[in-house]
Subunit: 302 residues, 2 copies
């Protein structure tokens, strides 16, 4: 099948970026969008995030070959119910939610007779809203597609091609495995960052302005991810609860080991641990998912 | 007093950057350096990190008005003893160590009759060694000077001016307070990052290559700081043990709260916490210690 019309529900960072990327990379494909918030729709029209911004969800999805839900994972079911009446029989319904088992449940429950094929582009920033999106967000970033059992192979292939056309690298896996992988590579890092930034802002002996001033020692990298959207992240933790708790407990066990090494002044354990972790960093730089310039190539030193 | 000759012991990231910065910003000031490692000395000569690279520590510090020890905090005492015989009566002995109470003890014990004024430039990258340094490392970054009680005010002023001449913003505080502030803004973030990167590389259900591939979801920001030098960081944790354990326990208490909120599906607690942490981020961007470009202005999307 070929995709000629794409509809995007939710015109924030992800939805807006998809809209801009389609218009850039697939100029022959028609785009329509909808967002629950009238202010977001107005801004989306100004920025031209999609060619058409509809005032009702059913209008946006009419005749679409592919609908992508770009709302917080807790809002997927509601967003799906709102478009159900206008969906074509053959339409692919996909999404960009950060957890995949719960998203699939919500979508397939709301749309039992449609072709639901969830996906998750592993690309983002700490910004959100209709001003945050940009066309190159997915370029050279991974997009994980999680086809449910029995999914139509032609439709899965069309969705994979769509993401590749936007510049992404695509991998397919099952939803449960996705949720474990992302718990480690994304959800736990966000939980830790949110926590430590909160801890730092509540100390009596160290002021908030000191924390801010001297953040260049490492802390500021945590504050960036702890500035991410609270609704999105609350929903992620509520919807990927088991995998997050499982990975969190692994982390807590290891942190207790490190704590004990410091308490016992066991330099060797620390040295060995710190040496091992460098290999992972090298792997990330080697495959181009980050770069080795000092300070990520921040230019503000000069 | 005016500083006309500077000697640098340890020609890695910090020592090399100071040498290059002095030659750039204070071209009238003579620079000499020494490093325990002959390969580092050879590379330091090639890069011209200091005008003279001596083969013995005593040669490097002869006639220096200011000596800066740029070695791991665990090596401060040894490095100080090695230069003791050649230090002038009036020489300022300073350092760049990441913990300050322990450094002051080590230096004042090794050099009881000299002017020890510790300092810590809060600027760094995850790189180390003689190739890592660059002249602008300190530009617009804070340098914390921790003058001991009874320090000669003229000498403290000279050291402050020196750092300002290299482009740094200077703040003075006592060593104990420094150690608490840095435990929060630097040492705990590094400990957490090292730990989670270790956890992630040991999972059975998620492969190392998956962790590396999908790191753009947040994890890669942790791997950067977890690629820092193991010797340096072992020494930091051994030498700022009490403040690190104190702050770590605060963090663990808060993390237990967040864990419980996830377990109990308490979305409100999460939402409130995640909303609060955004304010800290805005403070850091506002004072120019980071910038708000997506992905720190990484250019690899394009
Ligand atoms: N941000 C990231 O880094 C990232 C990365 C990968 C995947 N994701 C996933 O992408 C999805 C969207 O995230 P985002 O960062 O793009 O969030 P965002 O910028 O906040 O955009 C979401 C938009 O959806 C709207 N919305 C909420 N409920 C809706 C509904 N029922 N119908 C129509 N519109 C609705 C929101 O309006 P209101 O503001 O009025 O609620 C908002 O404008 C989430 O599922 C998230 O997990 C995010
Ligand atoms: N990296 C940062 O981000 C950062 C930021 C602020 C402050 N600091 C502090 O700066 C200091 C230096 O760190 P760095 O990152 O510059 O480390 P680095 O790049 O590893 O450089 C340290 C150099 O000192 C040498 N050395 C070790 N013991 C010595 C001795 N007794 N006499 C002479 N040279 C000796 C080392 O040689 P070998 O390799 O042979 O041991 C190495 O070449 C540490 O105290 C650290 O806490 C670091």
């Amino acid at each position: 099948m070929t995709i000629e019309r794409v509809a995007i529900i939710g015109l924030g960072l992800l939805g807006g970026s998809i809209g801009l990327a389609v218009q850039k990379h697939l100029p022959g494909v028609a785009t329509a969008g909808y967002d629950a918030d009238p202010d977001v729709r107005a801004r989306a029209r100004e920025r031209g995030l999609t060619a058409v911004v509809a005032d009702r969800p059913v209008e946006a999805v009419e005749k679409a070959d592919l609908v992508i839900l770009c709302v917080p994972v807790g809002a997927m079911g509601e967003a799906a119910r709102a478009i159900a009446p206008a969906l074509g029989e053959d339409t692919i319904v996909s999404d960009v939610g950060s957890s995949k088992e719960s998203t699939y449940s919500a979508l397939s429950e709301a749309l039992p007779h449609h072709h639901v094929i969830p996906a998750h582009p592993v690309a983002g920033t700490e910004e959100s809203g209709p001003d945050a999106g940009f066309a190159s967000l997915f370029h050279r970033r991974w997009c994980i597609v999680t086809p449910p059992e029995g999914a139509d192979p032609a439709k899965v292939a069309a969705l994979v091609t769509f993401w590749e056309d936007l510049g992404a690298l695509v991998e397919t896996m099952d939803a449960g495995h996705h949720d474990r992988v992302l718990a480690v590579t994304s959800h736990i890092p966000h939980l830790i960052a949110y926590t430590i930034v909160g801890t730092a802002s509540d100390l009596e002996q160290v002021t908030r302005s000191e924390v801010i001033k001297f953040s260049a020692g490492g802390f500021r990298d945590f504050t960036r991810i702890a500035a991410s959207d609270p609704t999105m992240w609350r929903d992620v933790f509520l919807n990927n609860r088991e995998a997050v708790l499982e990975m969190l407990d692994r982390f807590l066990t290891d942190l207790a080991l490190m704590r004990e090494a410091i308490r016992a002044e066991d330099g060797e354990t620390m040295f060995d641990w710190f040496t091992r972790t460098r290999a992972i960093r090298r792997g990330i730089v080697a495959i181009g998912q980050d770069d080795a310039r000092p300070d990520f190539g921040r230019k503000d030193h000069d």
